[in-house]
């Protein structure tokens, strides 16, 4: 089947089998390797992407579902100001998710900040529990997201008052 959708801001088109998952399509058809494709059950969350503005584990998204949809992967998210806030916030707070989970953690955190610009620690941990990795240090992650939230709020303020 043919899939037309928006991927990281660009109109794209590809062929897929009926049973393919989005994670597979992203990796194999577009070489977007930021989404891992290991557990195929939504457990680890390492394949997180944004689908129509909502963070979802792409291993559970049937490929046919992205027809006409907008998909943002970590590679696309890396080009945004929101990403820069998270990267800088995490760095400032000394929070360093490993190379395997970083993308998923950032996409989950971004989804939270979209909903709750000033999240509480419990909300952050609840949200980031969508990603499982043995490297996680809960308090560092909380600091990272909260610092990113501050940077983001500051950026928004300056943008609004420019």
């Amino acid at each position: 089947m043919k899939l037309d959708f928006i991927l990281n801001g660009e109109d794209v088109s590809c062929q897929a089998e009926a049973g393919d998952r989005l994670a597979y399509i992203l990796r194999e058809r577009f070489s977007l390797l930021g989404a891992k494709e290991d557990c195929r059950s939504g457990h680890c969350g390492l394949c997180m992407v944004s689908l129509n503005g909502r963070a979802v584990p792409s291993c559970l998204v049937p490929a046919f579902r992205v027809r006409g949809a907008e998909v943002v992967t970590i590679e696309g998210f890396e080009l945004t100001d929101d990403y820069a806030d998270l990267r800088d916030g995490f760095r400032k707070a000394g929070a360093e998710p490993c190379e395997f989970c970083r993308g998923a953690v950032f996409l989950s955190a971004a989804a939270l900040l979209d909903e709750r610009p000033r999240p509480e620690a419990t909300e952050i941990l609840e949200h980031l529990s969508a990603v499982f990795c043995r490297c996680h240090d809960p308090s560092a992650l909380v600091r990272g997201v909260q610092t990113a939230a501050e940077l983001r709020a500051r950026r928004m303020y300056f943008r609004a008052n420019r």
């Binding site: 059950s41 909502r54 049937p62 579902r65 989950s108 949200h127 969508a130």
Partner: protein, 281 residues
Amino acid sequence: MRIDEVIVPATLSEALSALKRNPDAVLCAGGTELFSEGPAGPADRNRTLISLHGIQELRHVSRTDLYVEVGSMTTLAELLALKEGFVPETLRSVVNRIGTFAVRNLATLGGNLSVTDRFRDCFPILACMDALAEYRQGTASRWVNLNRLIGPRGTPEMPRGEILTRIRIPLGGWDLGIAHKLGFPRINSRKSSLFVALARTDKRALSDIRILYACDRALRSREIESSLAGKKIPLLPRDIESAVGAYADYCSHAGIRESSAARFLTLVRRAFNQLNEGVTA
């Protein structure tokens, strides 16, 4: 499961026609159950899949004084995003414990109620609330009380060849509202079980009580529930013992595993104690 064809209808009528043309087709809601299955085995036959995800009319949510009606394709995240009090709080707390926020962005209420291998999280609480499910086939539609979907052996007996379109959840206060998942949170395990107890009191007497326990099958005894109705609150120790005894007999007739039965009885006792303590839902 091997999928050889996918039909993505844009409207309910298209979906109903597609189902009529392909009566053996598998219906897919959010896809979180179907797509978390392992790879297809050699014995798996090719199936046609009808995905309901694009049907906007199945995402409608409305409320009257008596009930709230939720379109079957409403995601669990959308359900949680409704303002507080829109859906019963006990249901909300159950939904909040399903999967992760990212999985809830995909999973739907209709999907959760339609799994056929064992009852998923929302079923017991909605069955206890006497929620109704609307099923559509061709031009016909019918409302079914969820309790009717529990087969004689306690296992799910979901309608085939029909599309679950809406769930009507009665509103009305419960003085006791308990819904707990035993086992690990967030995952569907063969070892997990679900316990629900709802009760209403009227003038210090028990006017209505509903208890459902779902392990590898659902257990609910209306007989025992009726025998408790009218009892004075607080329940007397002998009332509790006799009800727990009745549930023990019920479990042994149902033939469930001893450990499962023991868990159920402990929870029944706790529910009665909580009722006596006057905890309100």
